[in-house]
Amino acid sequence: MHMADALLSPAVGGAMLAAAAGSIAYCSAKVRKEVDDRKVPLMGVLGAFLFAAQMINFTIPATGSSGHLGGGLLLTILLGPYAAFLTIASVLVVQALFFADGGLLALGCNIINLGIFPAFIAYPFIYRPIAGLNPSTARTVAASLAAGVAGLQLGAFAVVLETTLSGISALPFTAFVSMMQPIHLGIGIVEGIVTALIVGFVHKARPDIFTNNDHSSASIMKSIIPGFLALALITGGFVSWFASQQPDGLEWSINKVTGKEELAGSKDGIHGALSGIQEKLAFLPDYNFKKPEVKNRGEQEPQANDGKKGGNRLGTSLSGIVGALITLGLAVLVGLILRKRQEKAAMKPHAHEHAHPHGHGHEHPHRHGDQIHSHEHFHEHSHPHPHVHDHSAPHPEDPNPRHSHEVRVAEHSHDHPDHEHESHEHKH
């Protein structure tokens, strides 16, 4: 249920990004104030754990399909809301960059949807009251189930709101809601059960882990939620006033549902009901929708007045399509020229390792062993393609004169025990 850039308008995406940034700043300050510096590595390693755990599937009983852990609730139970929120957000940043899960603008939405709800609503208001301080198994299961379901329902609802407000998708609000909520009810139940199983397991082995995460719900209510709301509203207003070029998506989708006869047709009653609810839910009534004609005044005007309604808001006509294909061709041409230049530059002696652009990077992790790889990599000392270097002189531009030595060391140290690698980060 990752939100995606392609479905977002700048106003919604920007407002959510600002809200997420504000929450991160607030939680960072909170975590910094907690003097417990054990949490620094713990949060990092648990984030990596969450990342790994999300890759492992299990079969869901009675359905035959497979699912994976979401983990927001689990992290909050382990770390407390503030640290957990930062950890979840960091995992989402990595996913946005490496898997393009959603994209960069949607990151704000995803951090709010998947971070705020489990950490600041489901955990303090549902999990803690049900589970209490020293929960029995039954209580843990009940609390995780309720909190898991609540967190995912809220998250799914937020996705629907963000999508509808952006107005890029034509899905009407109610149809989308009635699609998303039941799906996420199932996902929430599974998430709750899995979380309860893991928490139960860890509770038996290391009860000490669960001791000091006491954050009363009252302090959260007082501190973060009003600030978060205010920030979202202010930036939402500001961004839409300032940057919005296409703000009329919601209006359009309402018009589509209410105004078009060929659509209403036989399903008149349903659509009438839908639009009624939709208008009630459109809680920004005087959101300043610009008329679409305004924006293309100027050089587009002569093209657009070929009589077709909406022709100017489209900017799409035969000439537009021909032009699009030509620009696409131009882009490819520019790419080819740049690549040629790049290859020519690569033939020069000081950069000869780039003469074979494809493939080497891929072989690298196999060759040196993966633990080593991640270690080298973190310091950015070692050379990217060591096996192409047949001279031992350091790279003229390499900031680290020892890099060729590093490579040799790396090749001989396949089986360092784990903790030795961990300690490397403090050496340099």
């Binding site: 910094r32 620094v40 990596a48 960091s90 899905l171 882009a331 690549r339 950069a351």
Partner: protein, 270 residues
């Protein structure tokens, strides 16, 4: 569990691309982050029915991929594994929005199809720019850039710690998952109960690892700072990069290049 191993390798390959040594790689990360952010904002700021005007924006990822010596087919393949959510939501547009907005000779194209393809194009552009940013910059450098641009220090440290241990823990998780799969015949044993124990064990080992890391940190005097080999400064190149691309992209946003070139080509100058 070939899928997990495959995912880890894929992840590493993308990560290794950042070790390239082109002019774009050497550019300060802040410049690349700023231009990419502007690019995404401008792409998503288009009207929902806008399709042709989005095409010229392809030049940004294509030029960066070419000049940055990135493997084009690899990145294209990654982009085409589009976020399934986008397609699932987008495919409803043609079903719901059936008003005809465009006639091309005998073909009548509905607004829904236009906006569906617009969503796909947006997705390709935004996802593509995110991949190129990462492949040209590398995750630690992006983090540092964000920190220099105002991201709070604890969150930057969190990101760097996470990045450091992702490789370690995904491999550990992959090994555990493979072991479970080898021991379970087909579907049996892949259920929720064994998963809970598996993840619980992984969690306990992770926790112990964090405790060891903490001791190692203390004994070496960790000062809340990660050091990196490649230091970059914000200089003239960065300024030229930012200004050049910003002006060009803004121009593309406000002048529909497709329309313009198309009308010149078809001899119907405005």
């Amino acid at each position: 569990m070939s899928s997990i191993d495959g995912a880890i390798l894929d992840f590493k390959r993308l990560d290794l691309l950042a070790f390239g040594d082109t002019a774009l790689h050497r550019l300060d990360a802040r410049a690349k982050v700023i231009v990419t952010a502007l690019f995404v904002m401008l792409v998503v700021s288009h009207d929902r029915y806008q399709l042709a005007a989005l095409f010229p924006f392809v030049i940004f990822p294509v030029a960066l991929i070419a000049a940055g010596n990135l493997p084009f087919t690899y990145i294209a393949r990654k982009i085409l594994l589009l976020c399934p959510f986008v397609i699932v939501v987008g495919i409803f547009n043609p079903l719901i929005d059936r008003a005809i907005l465009l006639h091309l000779g005998p073909f009548a194209i509905s607004g829904g199809w236009l906006s569906f393809f617009s969503i796909l194009t947006r997705s390709i552009l935004t996802v593509g720019s995110a991949f190129t940013l990462l492949a040209l910059t590398g995750f630690p450098a992006v983090c540092r850039a964000l920190e220099q641009l105002g991201m709070p220090r604890p969150f930057a440290i969190q990101l760097l710690f996470l990045y450091r241990y992702i490789f370690v823990l995904t491999e550990e998780g992959g090994r555990a998952a493979r072991a479970r799969q080898l021991r379970s015949c087909g579907k049996k044993g892949m259920g929720i109960r064994s998963f809970g124990t598996l993840i619980g064990n992984l969690l306990l080992r992770t926790w112990q690892r964090a405790e060891r890391v903490h001791i190692a940190m203390l004994s070496r005097g960790f000062d809340g700072r990660f050091h990196s080999g490649r230091e970059t400064k914000f200089g003239r190149n960065e300024l030229v990069f930012i200004c050049g691309w910003s002006i060009f992209l803004l121009l593309l946003r406000f002048v529909d290049l497709s329309q313009l070139i198309g009308s010149i080509f078809l001899g119907r100058l405005p």
